[in-house]
């Protein structure tokens, strides 16, 4: 448990302290030499480490639900899609954004539901 809590805590601290959160200028790409890439890369490194810790504990019997469930998580690009589809300007961006919202939603909704359907079937032996 400790091996997961500690990296999670570090990760969250970095996210909270990252310039994306602290410095609104960096968020708009306003500053000339942005520190953002470095912070983002740091977050990436921590997340990969944490991912390996978490996933290596998943038993073989749950590997299919793990795939479909983690797949649903990768539908997180929905967030970027929402902003593109709703920004209200260029037509091409709206078209691309709407397509992205649709495909990412398929990924999220389909992924979580089908994982739930599978996990519901895993039962212990009734005594």
């Amino acid at each position: 448990m400790r091996r997961i809590v500690i990296p999670t805590a570090i990760l969250l601290t970095v996210i909270t302290a990252s310039p994306v959160l602290a410095d609104p200028l960096a968020q708009e790409g306003g500053s000339e030499v942005s520190q953002t890439p470095i912070f983002l890369a740091f977050i990436l490194a921590l997340s990969i480490f944490l991912g390996f810790e978490l996933i290596s504990k998943v038993p073989a019997t749950l590997h299919t639900p793990l795939m479909s469930g983690s797949n649903a998580i990768s539908g997180i690009s929905l967030i970027g899609a929402l902003i593109a589809a709703g920004h209200g300007g260029d037509v091409l961006v709206i078209v691309l954004g709407t397509l992205a919202v649709a495909t990412a939603t398929i990924n999220v909704v389909g992924g979580y539901l089908v994982t739930d359907r599978m996990l519901e079937m895993f039962k212990k032996k009734e005594e």
Partner: protein, 457 residues
């Protein structure tokens, strides 16, 4: 600012929920709640993003979400458990496509991004595009829309190398001067889509567990790259978690086949037939009645399922036979090889669907040491994963692959349609061993035949 702050705080909550959701997948008892936590994290992220002031109109968002939800719900409800590999392949593909589109849309919003952003846009459309078409190809192979055999042609490696080179050149050109490079981005997208097709066609059907795991990883990495494009922590965290998951699974699958990832991706394994020492001897068929007598006397029975179980949809019949054997006093378990089936954990899901309790499922490394004490092993639609040539015959292409040592059990009953070789095209000496009996026919029909014998006997 305070709105932006609360959105960012919501993203942190989401990351925590994703992390704990995955943590709870470490046991079947908590897995379902874990998945719900993860879904809750996603819902929070989406709801708070909708509050973002950059979002002005909602009509297209609603259109996209309605379409996505309808398709997603229908697919998740209707898909058969045996077709789960196809479903996961398509989900991977839609995730990759979404990330690719996000990267492209971001370029259209600001066609003069920094070199860093242009670089990560390149990566996003590349990984996203490869994931999309690669997954569609994997789906076509898995669902039989396309022949499962590897597609190989003269000069394939050269074509692929040129493709990679062209992608690299386009990527550099785009990164150096994104403002005037719309056309280059389009070429890049086209090449990425072609690369996805080219990288999956030389891979055979039974190697799909590796391909799906790898594409799973790519879909995470694509989301991760998109996170760099829109400078969003949550995308990076979530994408990296998925990327790590896919890589771990890929590694497990490769180890279970004793092959390197490079060998799986490039060798066209399974296109050649033969290999290994020819097997002498004659297979001994057995009738359902005789098989019943053997099983009736057995104290311990181990089922070893393979892809044939999924093809024949025999999981329910197998569970029924298993229960009858238990009533008869035998100890019943199900031994599952890591690459049995067409995706990691495929067999476990099918048996769970048929109500086999998960504590009866055993992994390869746990069953092999006690195999000598097993009275009867029933092989249902598995072939290469129980081929003793992997242990005994150094000339065999399978040599060195860890297998379930069914041949060491006192009696082996192999359910099989015919004497055809397995996916790898390798002869299976198991069929000719003294303690092996062949029960020919469709796996489901054979198992139902045994069930009938038990009920009458």
């Amino acid at each position: 600012m305070s709105l932006q702050l609360s959105i960012n705080l919501a993203y942190i909550v989401s990351s925590v929920l994703f992390i704990f959701g995955l943590k709870m997948l470490s046991s079947p008892a908590t897995a379902r709640r874990g998945n719900m936590l993860s879904a809750l994290g996603m819902a929070i992220a989406v709801i708070f993003t909708l509050l973002d002031q950059n979002i002005i109109t909602y009509q297209w968002i609603i259109v996209g979400m309605v379409i996505g939800t309808v398709v997603g719900v229908a697919a998740a409800r209707l898909i058969a458990m045996t077709a789960m590999p196809e479903m996961v392949a398509l989900l991977n593909g839609s995730g990759g496509l979404a990330s690719m589109l996000v990267g492209w849309a971001e370029y259209q919003r600001n066609i003069d991004p920094s070199a860093f952003t242009a670089g990560v846009i390149t990566l996003t459309v590349l990984i996203g595009g490869v994931t999309f078409t690669g997954s569609v190809m994997a789906w076509a192979k898995l669902s039989g829309k396309m022949d499962g055999k590897p597609i190989l042609f003269q000069g394939q490696q050269i074509v692929n190398a040129l493709l990679l080179l062209a992608i690299l050149v386009c990527g550099i050109l785009f990164t150096l001067n994104p403002a005037t490079s719309f056309l280059i981005l389009m070429i890049l997208i086209g090449l990425s889509l072609i690369l996805g097709v080219m990288s999956v066609i030389p891979i055979g059907g039974a190697d799909m567990p590796v391909v799906i795991s790898l594409l799973n990883s790519y879909s995470g990495l694509a989301a991760c790259a998109a996170g760099f494009v829109i400078e969003n922590n949550l995308l990076i965290v979530a994408g990296a978690l998925v990327g790590a998951s896919g890589i771990i699974l890929t590694n497990i699958m490769c180890k279970a086949m004793n092959r390197s990832l490079g060998n799986v991706l490039f060798s066209g394994f399974g296109s050649a037939t033969g290999g290994g020492t020819a097997v002498e001897g004659e297979a001994k068929p057995i009738s359902a009645e005789d098989a019943y007598l053997v099983l009736e006397a057995a104290n311990s029975v181990v089922f070893v399922p393979g892809y044939g179980l999924a093809v024949a949809q025999a999981q329910h019949a197998v569970r029924e036979l298993g229960e009858l054997l238990e009533h008869n006093g035998a100890e019943v378990s199900y031994a599952i090889h890591p690459v049995a089936g067409r995706m990691p954990g495929h067999m476990n899901v099918l048996l769970a669907e048929a109500n086999v309790p998960y504590d009866q499922l055993v992994e390869m490394d746990d069953i092999n040491p006690i195999m000598e004490t097993v009275d009867v092993c029933i092989v249902v639609g598995a072939n290469d994963v129980v081929n003793p040539a992997a242990r005994e015959d150094e000339a065999s292409p399978l040599y060195g692959m860890p297998i379930i040592n069914v041949d060491l059990a006192r009696t082996v009953i192999v359910l099989k349609r015919s004497m055809r070789a397995g996916f790898a095209g390798v002869e299976n000496p198991l069929f000719f061993k003294d303690n092996t009996r062949m029960l020919f026919g469709d796996a489901k029909a054979s198992v139902q035949g045994l069930v009938r014998e038990f009920k009458e006997g």
